[in-house]
């Protein structure tokens, strides 16, 4: 390549890399990523053991802005034969003009209601993103993000505590936790009307984070199932995919070797989707040192209010859109 092309191109790449510095979730100091241990040969996985502090094996790999492999607006361009993202017509300035969508086959299979719900959601990320001023994403007012959104978008450093009766997952994002029961109990068959009314145990009322039970399928594969979500105020991801009180989530944790865990998620909701679909396919996590300190990442309504006073409408759109 001629120098007069190579040099400006390299400069452009370098400038872009530098300009992104503030806007990336870079590697965390003290964390170890696969790129730090090239050529390693991890030992065998421990038997029936998920405990530890886990970070995406690739720095930033848990931050999935496009959402749960959602390709809602991905359409084939007849002229070129290529798949491309259609812009949201009233708000064409989405910042995604050049994005391609690589896997149209994983577009969630919406029911009519599912399609209606996803169209009503106005996310600030993903293919249907809108400017902040006109979004209706509940977490931007500090509502709980819930599950599985915490995994499908903001899976940051998380810790799994394992006891004989349950697992607890501590999430950095919004500083939340979930309990996954492993004591043999079943999921409530009708989570909106739980039948458990025994005197010594409260019924599992519908929750923002659902109700979870799990079991080992073999010595290295743990499957958790979750239902009992309270309503449709939680979204599946930052791209605005809908969730409802009939959503069921299946998580598969596969212990690959001594250092790695892979996490997959399957969504079932007959109200919103015509069939089950895989929202997360083997997100690779890496075990961190037991003394790794997980930072706080809390959502504060008063902080949010102060931010939006200044930055709530950067678009120049009319206030009518608020």
């Amino acid at each position: 390549m001629a120098k007069h092309v190579l040099v400006p191109t390299l400069a452009l790449v370098a400038a872009f890399v530098c300009s992104l510095a503030v806007y990336t979730q870079g590697p965390l100091p003290g964390a170890v990523y696969d790129s730090d241990r090239k050529g390693e040969k991890p030992g065998p996985p421990p038997r029936r053991d998920l405990a530890g502090i886990w970070e995406p094996a690739t720095a930033g790999g848990g931050i999935q802005g496009k959402g749960a492999l959602a390709m809602e607006s991905c359409r084939r361009d007849k002229a070129t034969g290529r798949y491309a993202v259609q812009q949201n017509p009233p708000l064409t300035d989405t910042g995604y003009a050049t994005v391609d969508c690589l896997k149209p086959e994983v577009e969630p299979p919406y029911t009519a209601l599912g399609l209606q719900r996803v169209k009503a959601h106005k996310p600030v990320e993903g293919y249907r993103m809108v400017p902040d001023a006109v979004n209706n994403d509940p977490i931007l007012g500090c509502d709980p993000g819930g599950f599985p959104r915490v995994v499908l978008h903001n899976f940051r450093t998380s810790e799994i505590l394992q006891t004989p009766t349950h697992m607890v997952v501590l999430y950095k994002f919004q500083k939340r936790y979930r309990t996954i029961w492993t004591d043999g109990r079943e999921l409530p068959k009708d989570p909106q009307q739980p039948a458990w009314t025994t005197a010594d145990r409260l019924p599992p009322e519908p929750r923002w984070w659902g109700y979870s039970v799990g079991k080992w399928m073999d010595d290295y594969t743990f499957v958790a199932r979750t239902n009992g979500f309270q309503d449709d105020r939680t979204w599946l991801d930052n791209a605005g995919l809908p969730q409802s009180d009939t959503t069921e989530v299946e998580e598969t944790y596969h212990r690959v070797d001594a250092n790695h865990l892979e996490l997959s998620i399957r969504i079932t909701d007959p109200k919103l989707y015509t069939r089950s679909w895989v929202a997360l396919d083997r997100l690779r996590l890496r075990l961190q040192s037991a003394n790794f300190d997980i930072q706080e990442m809390e959502c504060s309504p008063s902080d949010q209010k102060h931010y939006y006073e200044l930055f709530g409408n950067l678009t120049g759109l009319s206030d009518a859109g608020k």
Partner: protein
């Protein structure tokens, strides 16, 4: 060889462009992506929060008018590894801010780089920032 290099560069650049808006709490819709403005000013407020911190500073305009700037960064936890902290700026600090402005012309934008009174700059280089993954 030349073609391969060119392709690699094109793909790298493409991935970087695509990945840029994926990582903040919101996308880049309101910003004039790629445009850079450098402004000298005096710190009014450094607000440390999630999902965005922001820096407010006043620029003494040529006509004597003060321009009140506000630039955002990512969340505190995201920028800690880049050398920022809750104590990075004090009110009254003289700073030189390179920013990506909003499209509507208001004195607002995203902070790209800032020079502090002692001449040092933030963000610090990030370990492996360009090499870990396309998303990075």
């Amino acid at each position: 060889m030349r073609n391969r290099l060119m392709r690699t560069l094109a793909v790298t650049l493409g991935l970087l462009i695509v990945s840029a808006p994926l990582l903040a709490h919101h996308g880049a819709a309101q910003f004039d992506v790629g445009k850079k403005v450098t402004v000298k000013g005096t710190v009014v407020e450094w607000f440390w929060a999630n999902p965005h911190c922001f820096l407010r500073f006043d620029e003494a305009g040529a006509d004597g008018q003060v321009v009140h700037w506000a630039v955002e960064t990512q969340s505190g936890p995201n920028i800690l590894p880049q050398g920022f902290s809750r104590q990075s700026f004090k009110v009254g600090d003289a700073v030189t801010v390179t920013l990506e402005p909003v499209k509507n012309g208001r004195p607002m934008g995203r902070l790209l780089q800032v020079m502090l009174p002692d001449g040092s700059t933030l963000p610090l280089p990030v370990r492996g920032a360009a090499g870990d993954s396309p998303q990075n």
